[in-house]
Every structure is written in C-alpha cells, then in structure tokens.
C-alpha cells in the first residue's frame, strides 16, 4: 500500500492535516495529486497552540508543507479492496522466448538451434527460436521448422 494511493482512496473522507508549522486542518478531502497537494472542503483550522480556530469553506494546501495526515480507519479497508481488484485484473504472466538469433558470421548457425544438436537431446529446451542471421545456410531462413532444420543440417554435415 502506497501512501499516495491511500490518500487517493481517502477522497471524500474527513481527515486531519498537520502542517510543518504546527497548524492543523480538519476537513473533507476533495482532491489530491502526486505532490500531495490537497484540496479540503468544510475546513476547521486550528492554530499551533490549539487555542484559536477558524472555519473556512475550502482550502488548498501545498504538499511540501504537510507534516502528516490522519485518515479514518475505514479508508484502509477500501484501499485493500482496490489494490486486490487491481491485482485480480492483471493478466497471468506469459513469457515465451521471442527474439532474434545471433549472427555468428558466415557459415555460423543461429544460436539456439545448434544447441539441441550438441547436447544430443531430442529437443533444445527452452531455446530461443530466433531468426538466423545473414550468412547462415540457405535453409536457415524464417518459416522453416525446427526439426526440418535439424534434418537439413545433418544431411549436409560431413
């Protein structure tokens, strides 16, 4: 939970703001921004020593003068709801290797394809199936399948 997302969630709620100079402002949060600048409505201002009071219909407070804010407890439930629904919306992580093969120069093979051969395994595991760079075998162009390429390669090797 981020302080500013809590504050954003607290919009419409009553809160207390204490400034660095010790004055406090009680009011309903109308709006806030990423600098913590805030707009309060129906405000009661209390002097630092706490013996003078003013009421004002609204006020704008610059974020960098704020010492702290007190927000009602119910805001925390709300913010947890909101962050939960946000993570629920997030799509599951899908990450498959996609990219270009490395160009190994003339006669070289595209990386990832050759690896399967060297290991002798049936299949290169999780190998990046990238595009062969220029200068590879004529068959090493895009669109040719992995196994076709192996067969092609074996039949051409001495």
């Amino acid at each position: 939970m981020l302080p500013l997302s809590l504050l954003k969630t607290a919009q419409g709620h009553p809160m207390l703001v204490e400034l660095k100079n010790g004055e406090t402002y009680n009011g309903h949060l109308v709006n806030c921004d990423t600098w913590m600048n805030i707009h309060l409505r129906e405000v009661i201002c209390t002097s630092k020593d706490g013996d003078r009071f003013w009421r004002m219909p609204e006020c704008y407070i610059r974020g960098n003068t704020i010492k702290y804010l007190r927000v009602p407890d119910e805001v925390i439930d709300k913010v947890q709801e909101e962050t939960k629904s946000r993570t629920d919306r997030k799509p599951p992580g899908v990450g498959r290797g996609r990219g270009r093969g490395r160009d190994d120069g003339p006669g070289g093979r595209a990386k990832g394809i050759g690896r399967g051969l060297e290991e002798g395994g049936p299949k290169g595991q999780g190998g990046g199936r990238g595009r062969g760079g220029p200068g590879g075998k004529p068959g090493g162009i895009r669109g040719i399948s992995f196994f076709t390429f192996i067969i092609f390669y074996l039949s051409n090797s001495p």
């Binding site: 406090t24 805030i38 002097s47 009421r55 219909p57 704008y60 610059r62 003068t65």
Partner: protein, 99 residues
C-alpha cells in the same frame, strides 16, 4: 497531460475574489486574486499583510500592512483559501482529543 487540468484546485473560481494566502516563514496575506499560473505564482491586488506579534511570531495580530499589488511566488505559497466564509470561531471540538 493537458496543461492546467493537473492542478488539484482550479484557482479560476477565485479570480477577482478575496483570497487568504499563507506563505512559508509565517507571513499571512489577503488580497484580490488577479492572476495565477500552474506553479501557483499568484498576483494579488490590494494585498494586506497581517503582521505578527514580534514576541510570538506564531500569532497574527490585528495590525496590518498595505502592500498593494504583489506577486506571491508559488514555491513560498503554503495555503490558499477564500476570504469569503472564513471566520474565527470558538472551539468547535467539544473535547479536544489532542489532535
């Protein structure tokens, strides 16, 4: 980003109205808002500063100082509120909870 919409409070509604401005360092000024920008620089006309008690700079006194037309630098502006409807009142918190 559309230039002006990112401000929390649209000062347009205060133009040609009386506003009270508190500045960092403790000065307190009222005046008629004539203009502003996105950095919160303000132009105040017929500005009046409320002088503070030299012994206790936290307290503002009834003494004032006429400043005329002024520009308040945005970085020094702590608080802006309309003078209309702003009044000193008795303690509204029946039982001060130390808040």
């Amino acid at each position: 980003m559309s230039g002006r919409k990112e401000t929390v409070l649209d000062l347009a509604k205060f133009v040609d109205k009386g506003v009270q401005v508190k500045l960092t360092g403790g000065r307190q000024v009222t005046g008629t808002l004539k203009g502003y920008d996105q950095l919160l620089n303000l132009v105040l006309d017929e500005a009046v500063e409320f002088l503070r008690d030299p012994d206790d700079p936290l307290k503002t006194t009834d003494q004032t100082r006429q400043l005329g037309l002024i520009v308040c630098r945005g970085t020094a502006v702590m608080l802006v509120s309309p003078t209309d409807g702003t009044d000193e009142i008795a303690n509204p918190f029946i039982q001060p909870d130390g808040a």
